[in-house]
Amino acid sequence: MAGQERVNPRRDDEEPVDAPEPVAPSVQSRDAEVDALLDEIDDVLEQNAEQFVRGFVQKGGQ
């Protein structure tokens, strides 16, 4: 995968190619968490965003 090749450009060949930098999986999984939500955002977000936002009117409080 192109992403992994970019992550480990200087890796020696005695290391398995698929062993990522310690930080890499967490970055990737964090992106994956948001990506998964974005994939389904249309099912979650109000159908008519403009109407929802316009109708969100509150009285001032403290």
Partner: protein
């Protein structure tokens, strides 16, 4: 030395009837409170709020605002105009006629010691008093569950309107509603000293406490994203008002405790936060800074710690709040009175250094909760300076921004697109299936500090180490004989007694489980409890 301190959070929730933008918010809020009361066993619903010791017009600067000159929104102690200390019970005359129950003054005292009521056209959850920032998170999350229970109950009753509730602070049209922190502070610290030393802290802490907001300006009149929900509504440095000309440091001096020993610092500049780490650090760091000021004032500076803080006075704190909130790069600087220009992170780092200096001066070992707050505070300040994106599991504005940036990339949306504003609003919907924070949390994208079991328990049970224990347990055990309660009293109406009996609780650290648990266990009814208390 410790972060331990009596504290609590009040949250006014945004309220909507889906599809009916013109619905009366006061009525909707009343339904939120009333449906909760109705869902519980009958007796508890009768308990009123006991306003006898409330005085919202008392100013910490030492004067008292005349009632006639006060803005009506400040009169929170009179419900007819829509807000155990070791002493024995006090006798109160029983009213001849049943007092009129104003639906706008809907009020429930929960068995967890919290107050659920209608404040300024919003349902408000005022958490019970807790003694540490982690418990503050637990009982704040419990408040979300209380609100969710009302949403579900209203949805299940066809005759009542559906309601959606949002734990946020702005509507994007100019209205804001508050999330207030309360801290018990030693009265010995002069208020003016306290305020001056807190202002730079509150101005700059938004870099890690902000909930994030789509839109700039009070009405969101300019497109963009900023760190804080509340920043654009801050218009004064110090003041008594909470609903207009909102100040950085509020001077309401209503300690709900012995006023010769304590003041209650009422902080109105904070954002409501869904992220547990954000709530935890907001209260934890404030508690540390308050400790520093109390300690240093008492012992003459604490080895230079106070001097560090005193050099942080800002040239223009109100503008600085806005300036810092509008800078998502965290590189903007603000001018200090001594001529230096520092970033918000640098100002926070100075506070951290001052706290560490005072700790070294004291020399005592730290308890684990204090060490944890210090470590997290230091770590965040470091990482926010080098790689802010790395903090998106802990800092709410960054978590929200990550989602918004993802949408902007995918759909090529400008900042004034309604879909982005909708994400901002729906972020804090209390329903787990609708709230975008909840969706991210379920995906494992944010750090959690407390368990669902702890939160579930806190919905029904009070903290054991403050007077909230007595209040909550009194409601749970003798609810049908509790006629009123407040932060510092519980009023009992025992059948056959000639008067009502009021148990004062002027000390927030008495009435704990250790103090009265055995007494409660030995008292099958309110009459025997009152007899044991000496009434």
């Amino acid at each position: 030395m410790t972060v331990r301190r009596v504290m609590g959070i009040e949250t006014e929730y945004g309220v909507l009837q889906p599809g009916r933008p013109m619905a009366n918010p006061m009525l909707l809020s009343s339904h939120v409170v009333a449906v909760h009361a109705a869902a519980r066993e009958g007796g508890r619903t009768k308990a009123r709020w006991d306003y006898d010791d409330e005085d919202p017009l008392q100013d910490a600067r030492g004067f008292h605002l005349q009632r006639a000159s006060a803005h009506p929104s400040l009169l929170t102690d009179d419900p007819t105009r829509p807000a155990p200390s070791g002493d024995g019970p006090q006798e109160l005359e029983r009213p001849d006629v049943e007092e009129y129950e104003d639906p706008g003054a809907a009020n429930v005292i929960l068995s967890n010691g919290a107050r659920l009521y209608v404040d300024h056209a919003h349902p408000e959850y005022s958490s019970p008093e807790v003694t540490n920032p982690r418990d503050a998170v637990v009982w704040d999350r419990a408040g979300e569950q209380v609100m969710l229970a009302s949403v579900r109950a209203l949805a299940s009753v066809p005759a009542l309107p559906d309601v959606a509730l949002y734990k946020n602070n702005v509507d994007g049209k100019g209205a804001t509603y508050g999330t207030h922190e309360n801290y018990l502070v030693e009265r010995a610290v002069p208020f003016s000293d306290l305020a001056a030393r807190l202002i730079p802290f509150f101005v700059t802490r938004q870099v890690f406490t902000g909930a994030g907001r789509v839109g700039l300006g009070q009405r969101g009149e300019r497109a963009g994203f900023q760190l804080s929900q509340r920043a654009d509504y801050v218009e004064a440095e110090i003041g008594l008002e909470t609903t207009l000309r909102r100040p950085i440091v509020n001077t309401r001096d209503e300690p709900h405790a012995d006023p010769t020993r304590w003041r209650r610092l009422h902080v109105i500049v904070g954002d409501a936060t869904m992220l547990e780490v954000a709530t935890y650090l907001r209260l934890g760091t404030a508690s540390l800074v308050l400790w520093l000021i109390e300690r240093a004032v008492a012992e003459g500076g604490s080895g230079g710690a106070l001097a560090i803080v005193d050099r942080l006075a800002l040239r223009d704190p109100v503008s600085a709040v806005h300036h810092i909130s509008h800078d998502t790069t965290l590189t903007a600087t603000v001018e200090l009175v001594d001529g230096r220009r520092l970033t918000a992170l640098e100002v926070q780092r100075e506070y951290l250094t001052a706290v560490r200096t005072a700790l070294a001066h004291v020399g005592a070992p730290l308890d684990a909760p204090t060490q944890d707050v210090l470590d997290r505070w230091a770590s965040l300040l470091d990482r926010l300076a080098t790689d802010p994106a790395d903090c998106a599991r802990e800092v709410e504005w960054l978590a929200k921004l990550r989602l918004l940036d993802g949408m902007r990339r995918r759909e090529d949306l400008p900042w004034d697109h309604p879909r982005l504003a909708a994400v901002d609003l729906q972020w804090s919907d209390v329903r787990p299936e609708r709230g975008l924070y909840h969706r991210l949390a379920a995906a494992g994208a944010v750090e959690l500090l407390v368990t669902p079991q702890e939160v579930e328990r806190a919905v029904a049970h009070p903290p054991v180490d403050t007077r909230a224990y007595f209040r909550g347990e009194a409601v749970a055990r003798y609810g049908d004989q509790v006629s009123a309660a407040s932060w510092d009293s519980v009023v009992f109406d025992v059948p056959g007694a000639s008067t009502l009996q009021r148990v004062p609780m002027r000390d927030p650290l008495r009435g704990t489980q250790a103090h009265v648990g055995a007494l409660l266990d030995a008292s099958p009814d309110a009459a025997s409890l009152l007899a044991a208390l000496g009434g």
